[in-house]
């Protein structure tokens, strides 16, 4: 028992200060990807839709519909198109509206040159 007491004193308080202070370990959490604007064409978006194992991506015309609620943060889209996607490091995603989780990502039209 005494050695546990001493060990506890030595290590100090480990409890996170979140939400009063930001939690530093949060940036290492897996999170949904962010899309670089103007980097995705319709064809490359279709490839991502094909890859996504949880059907979080869907293309309608010139817009990629991203359902953040369905995303499992597996990172397969990021591995496929590392130049167009990056991690958000965002974990505060809870919402009172399911519709708020559905995001519309604008795409380049076919033939348009990516920047």
């Amino acid at each position: 028992m005494p050695q546990w007491f001493v060990r506890g004193l030595r290590r100090g308080v480990v409890t996170t200060r979140y939400p009063a202070r930001p939690e530093p370990s949060a940036r290492d959490l897996p999170g949904p990807p962010a899309f670089r604007a103007g980097a995705l064409s319709q064809r490359s978006a279709d490839a991502l839709v094909e890859i996504c194992p949880s059907r979080a991506l869907m293309r309608t015309g010139n817009v990629l519909v991203f359902d953040v609620g369905a995303c499992t943060a597996c990172g397969q889209c990021r591995d496929h198109a590392p130049e167009a996607l990056m991690p958000t490091g965002e974990f505060e995603l809870a919402t009172t509206s399911r519709r708020a989780l559905i995001k519309r990502i604008p795409l380049l039209a076919d033939g348009e040159v990516s920047t």
Partner: protein
């Protein structure tokens, strides 16, 4: 005097929001949570269990787990809502005293992983009236903490302002 359907919808939405805030303010001091596994892989349960560990210590924020739905204010639903479990889920919800909050936890409960089929409904809101959605597969304990604090209106939600696009003119 005539009221257009759009005005009426706005008025109902406004009243609903006001009601939600009032209910949430009742739960600001102490809140008891009942977890409900409707067929999840138990990854969400692992993360929920960690909330009670010293690193996250959700008791400091006034949240407690309870094994009895009759003592619970908040139902934390995980999993894709199996059809075999729907009756039990409804009974659990009915056994909770009003006002009550339902939180769908993880991509399964949000309708991401499983399509509706002969075995599952595919999302929690097919059976229960969900108030708060927490995405993630599984949501980390920090995400769960944020979700619980959003549910009782102690933190603002961030998602509506996020665009998930970076840079450029779009």
């Amino acid at each position: 005097m005539t009221t257009s359907p759009a005005d009426l919808t706005d008025a109902i939405a406004e009243t609903g929001e006001e009601l939600r805030r009032r209910v949430a303010s009742q739960f600001r001091r102490s809140l008891h949570i009942r977890t409900l596994d409707t067929g999840s892989c138990a990854a969400c349960e692992q993360e929920i269990r960690l909330l009670a560990a010293p690193h996250y210590d959700l008791h400091r924020l006034g949240f407690f787990f309870t094994p009895a739905p009759r003592h619970a204010d908040l139902l934390l639903v995980t999993g894709p809502m199996l059809r075999a479990f729907a009756a039990a889920a409804r009974k659990t919800y009915d056994a909770m005293p009003a006002p009550k909050i339902v939180v769908a936890t993880g991509a399964c409960a949000l309708g991401g992983v499983y399509q509706p089929d002969a075995f599952c409904f595919g999302s929690a809101d097919e059976v229960l009236p969900v108030d708060v959605w927490i995405p993630g597969c599984p949501p980390s304990p920090l995400a769960l903490l944020h979700g619980l604090l959003v549910a009782v209106d102690r933190l603002a939600e961030k998602v509506p302002s996020l665009s998930f696009t970076v840079g450029g003119t779009a």
